[in-house]
Symmetry: C2
Subunit: 767 residues, 2 copies
């Protein structure tokens, strides 16, 4: 836990430099716009601890898998999000001294991420080794208004120095992924050139042959007089506009750098350079400040859709805004080929690919906080990967169009390689089906089924049908050898969550088949034909639904995480010597596996998904059994516990868990923020607020709220976009006010009371 | 399955060259003497497929572990047996053409490993690209008489050529381990020098700093006239005596090369060179033929102790001798710091380290076929590693002197890194305890307990005591999260074999404590003190023994491999589409894991170890349940099945399985002989003959035989060294003859009839 970041409702502030935490601050201060982004690195050189990272959507590299012992079926590679061209770079040499905070004496330092406006700024005053004093003011952004544009402003006030200053404003592709398995560089040079004061750098990735081109226009004024570059310098995959100037004492240097980045993910390779140059030309006359205004306006609109306000708890307020800010930076939903990498544009770990996190944790945020097409694109992403998922299942021995979606992917192919995860954590298929259900329940968009959904559901149902086997001993269908959401168990039999969601998938698919048959009879026949579907398959599915084995304890009145779960030593977490925590840093893997301790919600994840199927006492018994055995060593764990704790009126537990999820990265709770942020768990934090404290549910196609905010909060406000109706909700300790900001009428249930809201009407309801 | 090797009772013969199988033949033709050895590579250059390998006992390198995702407790490195100095090397250039079978036209080719004498010979006739004809005759050996000496004879008859010939006789350390994880070379040069016509090459290993020095003396005669070398050539880690000669047509060149190899495993580093030079000097006057005679005499003695003769089945005969030959080459039992690597001196795979194979499969061979100290040294090896095993257990959270021996080791430290093996295949601890029991049962050497054994047993018992937990649900002690001998299951609960041997270890330790207390009361107190042992520990052990959970099926009357084993689909191997086999090459890992199929004896391994505790019908039921579900995809599997099949009079099954184990490498059954031979499974083959067809057991400290040889065998003969009594046993279809070749009297049970044998007496018994 670290507390060096100032608490502020809209800002992440580091006052005074903390070099030992610099990689953490870099992660926290990452900026992006859904198409590109990067860590909060300094523009000028920095020789201290840093992870230099700039990332561009959709561009990946299949790094050869690193594994001790090969097992049949392992993927050949692990797809990595690529660290790409460094566009922020400025090399500054004052006299004989390079500006480098690590080498200089720091007189003052202030770094600020303004989340409201999406601006990263810094001021710092240094004394260099040659006694020159420099005062840096920098600011930059990746434009949310125009997502191929980024810009920076950088000024330098030089004191106690007269003489030569060298400035290189560069574009550098000669960078390495820190997580490269074999220390390879992944970019090859394509075009390093200059024209009309612009520098241009295009490179392509090895193997995948992605091209990325960046053009930069640098504008430098010294004491308000424009300077022309002295030379263009080129090295391998590197180009700079270089300025050699002689300055008088107390010189003031102002640098503006505007860049455009285009890639072959969006354009034909041969058009990239042209697109970059045209766009650079388009914004040539726009000042930095004009570009910035467009950008901050776009952020204003984002916040109008997605802000959450918490009055009375500045830490919680900062935490939730921090999470929403990064969710909006990571995924804007414009392109169904993109998804939400676990680190977004903030780092390289976990390959930047798609996990089941998207469906299980992220979808609700985008459903409620963005136009409907954003969430829909997340679903279409999986439909686009359906054929690959079928091929993935075929590699594992499945037939007849059964699909197993990958555990980790960037292009639809599986690219992870721990057998216990990749091969066995098959419940991900369930979450992908559940997301379809969740989307339709929330938006009412039944047509999604005939458009895309049913194809996916049939393929998933076929997978489950083949993945179960009938146990003669139990006279039930069983699912052997799986890993559930709780990855502190591997290769278990009959994980309750997996069995439950498998059976649910079969049921939902049958229901969806009926829906499409009813509503879209022609499309239905087409879908049958396309999927070579025989309605007899349904009969087999029904047999499985009716005879699925669900491990339970009659005595405890709970579902069992897996067969024989009660054979474990039942000491609860609170009774453990706390020096053992976190377990994953203190215990060997086998010890964790055989222990009762739970990394993240597993049975409780199922209860969260399917809450309406269980009575409150069943939920309570399960929560009270599993919560004390959960160590929450996944960032995705606390949010589900918050929601259930709220439901069960366990206020203190809910609030504790909430702080843990909402400030996970801000406080570096797990000692790994330096690798990048936990983007997908941020959506979990959003869920904790809206579904937990807000008590938001969809019941019978209707929005339902059952709010219960923490005692120390004065007010909780959030927005919901529900079936194209924009609602602003304010929850106090004793009342709730809802404003309908749309032109639709809407009925809402609040704690089981029906409220009718006319367009633009506000109603206040006493709790 | 390949059948290009000629069947012969004493020889491995390749007639006509099979370049596509060259790596296989190289493995088969490996020679060694327990201290050094190498693959059957050609002496001259060969540019075709080959794994060049020369290995020296005890010299290893801790190669950085290659793993995808690190888990807490993983070892940092994997210890590899090192490919060391190539001493056989001769580079031959005739005119402008290098002698290289891969480049030449082969007129004739014959390669032979004479197992009786331990000699590898080859004759071949080549036409080179310059039309010169050369006839090569080569022979070499690693002296069994003097294990730091090796020698080769190599002659070249050159026809259709007059002109210059260049011969380099070299020592080369500039070699690479094929299995290096990061393509590193592991040797650094120390001393490359010449004196008195000898070349000397000493190198040291990176990290481990092992030094190895080789000296070579080359003697060349052309047309019976001695030639002096023209130059000494040195390169990085390479030195050669180079001969440039001009020859007349039909020249005959005879080369002898004698080498001495000494390492820091045996000598102080600064003494190595001296030891090499002194020994080379000692044998300077010995001719190749004199050295060879000493060597073949030593082999004669080995065979006198260990030969098995099978009359009437040349394939089985060749198979068993091949196995015995390699077992004797791999381990001679002179040094308790060495052990039996799974590939011996024949390849690099599996790191050349020690597995539980030693105790479970190899010990019986060495017990019966070598002086008692050989087997004892195998046991002492583990006692030497006791402290490391305690540290290994501590890393996994155990305390109070509990020991977990490593799954793979070369120096006592764990050096493997699949969690499902390293952390969970804990039954190895049981085999190490069982070996102590087996050794004492066979030799009667009770004193071993007070000398070494009890320390090890107490530490192992302490491990089991902490590794069980009490299941409130079952009201029994359980062992969760293990991998049994059947590695086609991972992380299972209550593997019957593991639970059984755990409980047995506790019982045997208690009994051993009593034995030492009775027989060696003073040592007993010393041992208690040294191990900080409290006799109350025994009470806890007894509670576990009395309340251990053993999964069983009442209905089937069998022990269950693990909890819930009967939930699996029960289709037997014979009913599978055979295109699925071998499973490990056709099925993904998860599919194998959840299947019922068994890689190697698991429940049956326990029944084999503890046969006397089960009635014959229980054994039959278990065999008949598990055998049809076993795919024998481990080389260690068939032998146990042979032994039980013999016991159950399943003659056909026994013979089928026997051929599979005895000719595993000769016929390349698993398509992996090219990596090296399956040394430890060779001991399993020996067990199949002696314990299977010979029906050998120890019952009440007495040798017991219940022979039953395959129908097509006329006679089976083997030797046993039982309690220092040397017995020669001949088993026919209807009678058995036993000769006592010692000066002791001995009583033997044959099929429950007692036979008394006086010294040097032979008795024939009708079966």
């Amino acid at each position: 836990m670290k507390h060096y970041i100032e608490k502020n409702a809209w800002k992440i502030i580091e006052r005074g430099f903390n070099p030992e935490y610099n990689k953490i601050t870099e992660s926290l201060c990452s900026i992006g716009n859904g198409k590109m982004g990067g860590r909060g690195n300094f523009e000028e050189s920095y020789s201290g601890k840093s992870l230099q990272g700039t990332y561009y959507a959709g561009i990946y590299y299949p790094d050869k898998t690193k594994v001790g012992w090969w097992k049949n079926g392992y993927p050949e590679y692990f797809a990595k999000v690529l660290n790409g061209c460094n566009w922020i770079g400025l090399k500054l040499v004052v006299g004989d001294c390079e500006v480098d905070i690590h080498q200089a004496k720091i007189e003052s330092f202030y770094r600020e991420l303004n989340m409201q406006e999406g601006l990263l700024t810094r001021t710092c005053k240094l004394t260099l080794n040659n006694n020159a004093q420099v005062e840096i003011k920098s600011q930059r952004f990746c434009s949310l208004h125009h997502d191929e544009i980024a810009a920076l402003s950088y000024s330098l006030k030089v004191d106690n120095f007269t003489g030569p200053i060298k400035i290189e404003s560069f574009l550098d592709f000669d960078i390495i992924n820190e997580d490269s398995n074999y220390d390879e560089k992944f970019w090859d040079e394509v075009d390093v050139s200059e024209s009309n004061h612009l520098i241009y750098n295009q490179a392509k990735t090895k193997k995948t042959d992605f091209h990325l081109g960046l053009g930069a226009y640098t504008n430098i004024e010294i004491d308000n007089k424009k300077v022309i570059h002295s030379s263009i310098d080129k090295r391998n995959k590197y180009i700079s506009s270089t300025y050699n100037v002689n300055v008088n004492n107390k010189a003031f240097i102002q640098i503006y750098k505007k860049i455009v980045a285009c890639s072959s993910f969006y354009y034909p390779t041969q058009k990239i350079k042209e697109r970059v140059l045209i766009q650079l030309n388009d914004i040539k006359s726009d000042s930095y400040h004009e570009l910035r205004t467009q950008h901050t306006e776009a952020w204003k609109q984002k916040w109008d859709e997605s802000d959450i306000e918490i009055i009375g708890d500045i830490g919680a307020q900062q935490g939730i805004r921090f999470n929403i800010f990064h969710l909006n930076q990571t995924y804007t939903g414009k392109d169904a080929r993109l998804n939400i990498g676990p680190k977004g544009f903030t780092g390289e770990k976990y390959g930047g690919s798609t996990y089941w996190d998207t469906e299980a944790y992220c979808l609700p945020f985008y459903l409620s906080s963005a136009p409907q097409k954003v969430a829909k694109n997340l679903l279409i992403y999986r439909h686009n990967h359906l054929q690959k998922a079928i091929e993935n299942a075929e590699k594992l021995g499945f037939t007849n169009g059964a699909a197993l979606y990958p555990m980790v992917t960037i292009n639809g192919e599986e690219c992870h390689n721990e057998w216990e995860i990749t091969f066995e954590e098959i419940h991900r298929n369930g979450a992908i089906a559940f997301a379809i259900f969740d989307y339709i329940r929330y938006t009412g968009d039944q047509a999604y089924l005939e458009e895309f959904g049913l194809d996916v559901l049939i393929a998933i149902a076929r997978f489950w049908k083949q993945r179960v086997n009938f146990s003669e001993a139990k006279q039930k269908y069983v699912i052997l050898g799986v890993t559930g959401p709780n990855e502190y168990e591997n290769n278990v039999n009959n994980n309750w969550y997996t069995n439950y969601i498998a059976s649910w998938c079969l049921k939902f698919t049958i229901k969806s088949i009926e829906t499409v048959q009813d509503l879209y009879p022609n499309r239905f026949l087409e879908i049958l034909r396309k999927n070579n579907f025989d309605l007899n398959e349904v009969t087999q599915w029904e047999k499985i639904i009716d005879n699925m084995h669900y491990p339970t304890s009659e005595e405890l009145g709970i579902f069992l995480q897996q067969d024989n779960f009660l054979d474990k030593d039942q000491t609860v977490v609170a009774k453990l010597d706390q020096a053992n925590l976190p377990l994953n840093q203190n215990w060997s893997w086998d010890r964790i596996l055989r222990s009762v301790y739970i990394k993240q919600a597993d049975v409780l994840q199922g209860i969260y998904f399917f809450e309406e199927n269980f009575d409150i006492e069943t939920i309570r018994r399960n929560f009270e059994y599993y919560e004390p055995r959960t160590v929450h060593e996944s960032s995705l764990s606390p949010c589900v516990h918050v929601i259930l704790a709220c439901l069960l009126s366990k206020d203190e537990k809910a609030y504790d868990m909430y702080l843990r999820t909402s400030r996970l990265d801000l406080d570096d709770y797990n000692n790994d923020t330096e690798d990048g942020l936990h983007i997908t768990s941020m959506a979990g934090t959003w869920m904790s607020v809206v579904k937990g404290f807000g008590g938001m549910r969809i019941k019978n196609s209707r929005l339902y709220l059952n709010p219960r905010i923490p005692k120390n909060w004065n007010k909780l406000s959030f927005r919901l976009n529900f079936k194209n109706t924009l609602l602003a909700i304010q929850i106090g300790q004793t009342d709730i006010s809802i404003t309908n900001n749309s032109n639709n009428k809407i009925n809402i249930s609040i704690s089981d009371q029906l409220i009718n809201l006319n367009p633009n009407e506000t109603k206040v309801h006493h709790l």
